[in-house]
Amino acid sequence: MTTKRIVNHPVLGKLEENKKITFTFDGQSYDGYENDTIASALLAHGIRTLRKHEESGNPRGIYCNIGHCYECRVTVDEVSNVRACLTPIKENMVIESGKVQPSPLDPKNEGDLPRTYDEFIRSEEQKKNANK
């Protein structure tokens, strides 16, 4: 375990020894302590980037650390959009960072799909006419 824990504190005292917990983040195994959140356990290992912006791919980490900003959302045991800053780690938890999503508004991804019901009806009619 790395030394990013604040073990000795002049006022708050020595850090309590808590139970060790093992989890994975993007396939790699890490350990943390009971009462750690996903965000604190990962930061203790020097990991700041928790997701990529779904559209631009720009990296993000914790911003508010108390559940307000939703910047730290990750996928936990296949449940998406879980806030790393509020979620306590559990033994064998499988955590995946937030990834870039395909953008339906990008013309590259549009393909030939109709965008309105009107377009859909017209394309269906065209298909019918073409089959005649």
Binding site: Y63, C69, Y70
Partner: protein, 90 residues
């Protein structure tokens, strides 16, 4: 110089807001709807004061005692399965 991002969730920059305000000469509400500033995942909790400030400056609308841009439920994103009854009343 990098862009000054105002709304982190939707990556809306000051420049986006300024250009949209100029192009459409719009009200604060319209400007928000056009740019999606404050309408992302966090529901505007992070950028609300900043967006309010920029919109007031750009649209010259005076702030009122009512909350400037409407708050609508849900104030936290919620999955459809939770909304659709997974969350029971006991």
């Amino acid at each position: 110089m990098q862009h000054l991002i105002i709304c982190r969730c939707e990556e809306v920059s000051l420049k986006d807001l300024e250009e949209t305000a100029k192009k459409f000469n719009c009200t604060a509400r319209e400007l928000k709807l056009r740019t999606r500033a404050g309408m992302g995942f966090c529901g505007g909790r992070t950028c609300r004061p900043a967006v309010d400030k920029v919109l007031t400056d750009l649209t010259k609308e005076n702030p009122t005692d009512a909350i400037p841009l409407k708050v609508s439920p849900p104030v936290r994103p919620i999955s459809l399965s939770d909304l659709g009854g997974k969350a029971s009343d006991d």
